[in-house]
């Protein structure tokens, strides 16, 4: 059970512009984040009382800058510390309104206040987000919460080098990839050999020198023009007189590191007549060409995992400082076109956004082949009338029932086929997830064997190796179990099914895929464990199709900044409603009518089979499937199925 408490000290200052901006952020928090937190925390299991609740305190820097990054980070953190990933954790959010340079009087008052506020709940782990909150936590955490483990999240090497930390603490360092981004910029832009640094915030000197140090490692030395300190007027002037050999590199501060004092970087990109590269995902789509950008959502998730380990009693002093490596090459096609940059020179695996959608020839071929193969099966399905009742027994002798059963088996096969093809999309990440534990198991076992031959091995060391092998084997087993439950071609079976278990399996299977695209999967289950009658493979196929569609839709640009897919089940009289809502652009008006027709698709690489198969399945289960656009953006697909007799509310 996850609950969220939100504390905030109010300062009795006049509402200056800055204060108003802060207030906006708080509102943003309440409007955008809190409901999701509540959504994520909704399920309460009946046996939860016996397990002690653990408390995690999250300290925020509360600077208005980098709010987007901080929000993403906290969402990621929250996601890993809530069901289904973790149970019985209470998150306390606390803004500090501190700055990177400590102010003693203010800080001491804050220390007293925090002691008072968290007198009752015993905090198990403290997490500080961003450099300012972390500076505060490094100084005072030990005196406020003695012997409690502290994780300093989203700090940088400069901070770690300059800060004395408590013994029971571990930093999670983020590292902006200026070197790789600059290198790629120079490769990508013909004739470029000077890098112009601009920033929308005052960059602390230590950090500035680290950036220069990174850039000094460039394989091909480049000139550097540092305009991060240039006054506003000079900056405007310089931006107008850049040379064709210049590329701009946007320097973005860490969360909680500084406040805006300059024109925004999106503005700079618009005004400058040279391409701008960035390490901040939020600038891609705002005028930057792209770069190796940081996903703060993943930093949050990584931090969440670390917090779980701390809660399990791991010793922070023995953990290595973790460097968050959550970056990806992301580019804006419109900017590539604007600056006539050849996308063949982009680093491998680049995510190019804002591309014109067009079907590649390969996909068209695949579609054609599948179309030929499937047309027969589907044709049969659509030509026969819809069965009134599912068969009670499979071995029925009545001819009409046999026909119905055949239809259902066809649909069952088709659903399985569609499932296998959908798996292609997640196969790569599943393979990676299996390979890692297998590698660890094999290497551990072979290491142990070698150590035994050498006669120099202690029992303790062997036990440690065996423990690791067992743990990694279980990790691989979990991956396979999840796959099997979804992939295996069961006999067609008409049984009572727990909707919650079906959804959970699908969500587990797609978690990695969603995370890879920076999409958050949220589930909310109504009370009890309502059952519906039907075929597991088919119903899971419907859920999988809807969630995969949701992930795909949420990835598109121009949608909500926070990418998420929420999957909600709810009782409605004698029915169960499952709704899947995404944060994409919604269903285009002209697509509305034809959405569930076979071979209709709005996706770049879709076959147009998912929804039509889903509708057939749902209708076979005597249910209904509907799609609508939700106010505020995104589409919602709902499936309403009759409840198993005796299960109705």
């Amino acid at each position: 059970m996850l609950t969220v408490s939100w504390g905030r000290r109010c300062r009795t200052v006049a509402r200056t512009r800055a204060a108003r901006a802060r207030w906006d952020c708080v509102q943003l928090f309440f409007v955008a984040i809190l409901p999701i937190a509540i959504l994520a925390g909704a399920p309460t299991s009946t046996f939860s009382e016996s397990i002690p609740e653990r408390h995690v305190l999250v300290l925020l820097s509360d600077q208005e800058s980098r709010m987007a990054a901080e929000t993403d980070l906290i969402d990621g953190l929250r996601e890993t510390l809530s069901p289904p990933h973790a149970d019985h954790i209470t998150l306390h959010m606390q803004s500090l309104e501190v700055e990177e340079t400590p102010r003693d009087a203010h800080d001491h008052a804050l220390v007293l206040w925090l002691r008072e506020r968290f007198r009752v709940s015993s905090i198990d782990v403290v997490v500080s987000v961003g450099v300012s909150a972390s500076t505060f936590a490094a100084r005072y955490a030990d005196s406020i919460w003695p012997r409690v483990a502290v994780a300093f999240v989203a700090v940088d090497e400069a901070w770690v080098a300059a800060t004395e930390r408590p013994a029971r603490s571990v930093p999670i360092i983020v590292h902006n990839e200026y070197l790789s981004t600059a290198h790629t910029a120079l490769m990508l832009v013909p004739g470029a050999h000077r890098i112009v640094l601009v920033s929308d915030a005052a960059i602390n000197r230590r950090r500035d020198s680290l950036i220069h140090q990174q850039l000094s490692l460039l394989p091909t030395p480049a000139d550097i023009l540092d305009l991060t300190d240039a006054p506003r007027d000079e900056l405007a002037l310089r931006l107008h007189s850049l040379m064709p050999s210049d590329v701009i590199l946007a320097i973005t501060p860490l969360p909680g590191a500084a406040s805006h004092t300059r024109p925004g970087l999106a503005e700079v990109a618009k005004r400058a007549d040279r391409p701008m590269f960035t390490v901040d995902e939020s600038l891609v789509g705002e005028g930057a060409v792209g770069g190796l950008v940081m996903s703060y959502g993943n930093v949050g998730r990584r931090s969440g995992v670390l917090v779980q380990r701390l809660l399990d009693g791991a010793d922070p002093a023995r953990m290595q400082s973790t460097i968050a490596a959550d970056t990806a090459w992301v580019f804006d096609q419109r900017q590539l076109t604007r600056w006539k940059l050849d996308d063949r020179n982009l680093p491998a695996g680049s995510d190019v956004r804002f591309r014109d959608s067009s079907l590649s020839i390969r996909l068209m071929l695949v579609s054609l082949i599948l179309l030929t193969v499937l047309a027969g099966v589907i044709g049969r399905r659509f030509m026969v009338s819809r069965p009134q009742r599912p068969p009670a027994v499979a071995s029925a002798q009545v001819p009409q029932v046999v026909t119905e059963f055949d239809q259902q088996r066809n649909l069952h096969d088709l659903a399985h086929m569609n499932m296998i093809s959908a798996m292609g999309e997640v196969a790569a990440s599943v393979a990676h997830e299996l390979n890692q534990p297998l590698t660890a198991v094999l290497s551990n076992a072979q290491a142990a064997r070698r150590l035994l031959t050498g006669n120099s091995v202690g029992a303790a060391e062997l036990r440690e190796i065996l423990d690791d092998i067992i743990e990694q084997d279980k990790r691989a087993g979990d991956v396979i179990q999840g796959m099997r439950r979804i992939m295996k071609k069961d006999q067609f079976e008409w049984v009572a099914l727990d909707m919650r278990a079906l959804v959970t399996d699908v969500v587990h299977l797609l978690a990695h895929q969603a995370a890879w695209h920076g999409v958050l999967l949220l589930t909310e289950f109504g009370s009890g464990q309502p059952k519906v009658r039907g075929d597991r493979v088919q119903l899971q196929q419907v859920i999988l199709n809807l969630v995969l569609n949701g992930i795909e839709a949420s990835r598109v640009e121009g949608g909500a900044r926070r990418r998420c897919v929420s999957i909600v089940t709810r009782l409605e009289g004698k029915s169960l409603r499952l709704s899947v809502r995404d944060s994409g652009n919604g269903i285009p008006a002209d697509a509305d009518e034809r959405l569930f027709e076979p071979f209709f698709t709005t996706k770049r690489n879709g076959l147009g089979m998912g929804l039509s198969i889903s509708r057939s399945i749902v209708e076979l289960h005597r249910g209904e499937i509907r799609a609508r656009n939700v106010p505020g953006g995104g589409a919602e697909f709902s499936v309403v199925l009759p409840l198993e007799e005796g299960d109705a509310a």
Binding site: A325, H432, V441, Q446
Partner: protein
């Protein structure tokens, strides 16, 4: 088993894999350091000892290939063994072209990996020797006067003293003296040795 001085760096973003690989290589008597991200490795400085890096190609930050390029600039003697989850052919070919010593797929057999790492360390030692030899030779090359350098270039081309004297418009006796000084300053015993080092270090070519 490897001789005393060397270093193996393992870079992988999965802590379990990192620990296991470290155990495996350590059990073979190798001296190992681990890095949980390619980026930490950028702080790497050449060690001047035979060293090798075991690198996961599919780490989601700096791509392995890119790191390989950067590392090569930092330290020409560091050899790389690539590990990958999926043997994707174009990438492997590219890695080979860039000079990866080996390209192994996960999960990797322990003996194979140890063999690959030991091979890589040997190549690193060779590369280090070449670099040292080159640095020494380049340092000694600076001792030559312009005239001696000219003479050296022509000696390598296989010209006789008489021919060199003709080329340079000087006496054969002078050339002979120059030639002796070149051999002495560059610490080589024969023309053949001089030619070999010049070839390997790409120096004393005609301009």
């Amino acid at each position: 088993m490897m001789s005393a001085v060397h270093k193996v760096f393992i870079v992988d973003d999965d802590e379990a894999v990192l620990t296991a690989l470290k155990r495996l290589l350590a059990s073979a008597g190798l001296s190992v350091e681990t890095y949980s991200s390619a980026r930490t490795f950028l702080q790497y400085r050449p060690h001047d000892i035979p060293s090798c890096m075991v690198l996961d190609l599919r780490m989601p930050e700096l791509s392995g290939l890119e790191l390989q390029r950067t590392i090569h600039e930092l330290d020409g003697a560091l050899s790389i063994v690539f590990l990958t989850g999926h043997g994707d052919v174009p990438t492997s070919v590219q890695a080979m072209k860039n000079g990866a010593v080996d390209f192994l797929t996960k999960p990797v057999d322990g003996d194979l990996l140890i063999e690959a790492v030991e091979g890589a360390l040997m190549r690193s030692a060779d590369a280090l020797n070449t670099i040292r030899e080159r640095d020494g030779f380049l340092a000694r090359l600076k001792l030559l006067t312009p005239r001696e350098r000219q003479v050296g270039t022509l000696v390598i081309r296989g010209l006789l003293n008489k021919q060199i004297a003709w080329e340079l418009g000087t006496a054969e006796k002078t050339v002979k003296a120059h030639r002796a000084r070149v051999m002495q300053k560059l610490a080589v015993g024969s023309v053949a040795e001089l030619a070999r080092i010049a070839e390997r270090t790409n120096t004393l070519r005609e301009t």
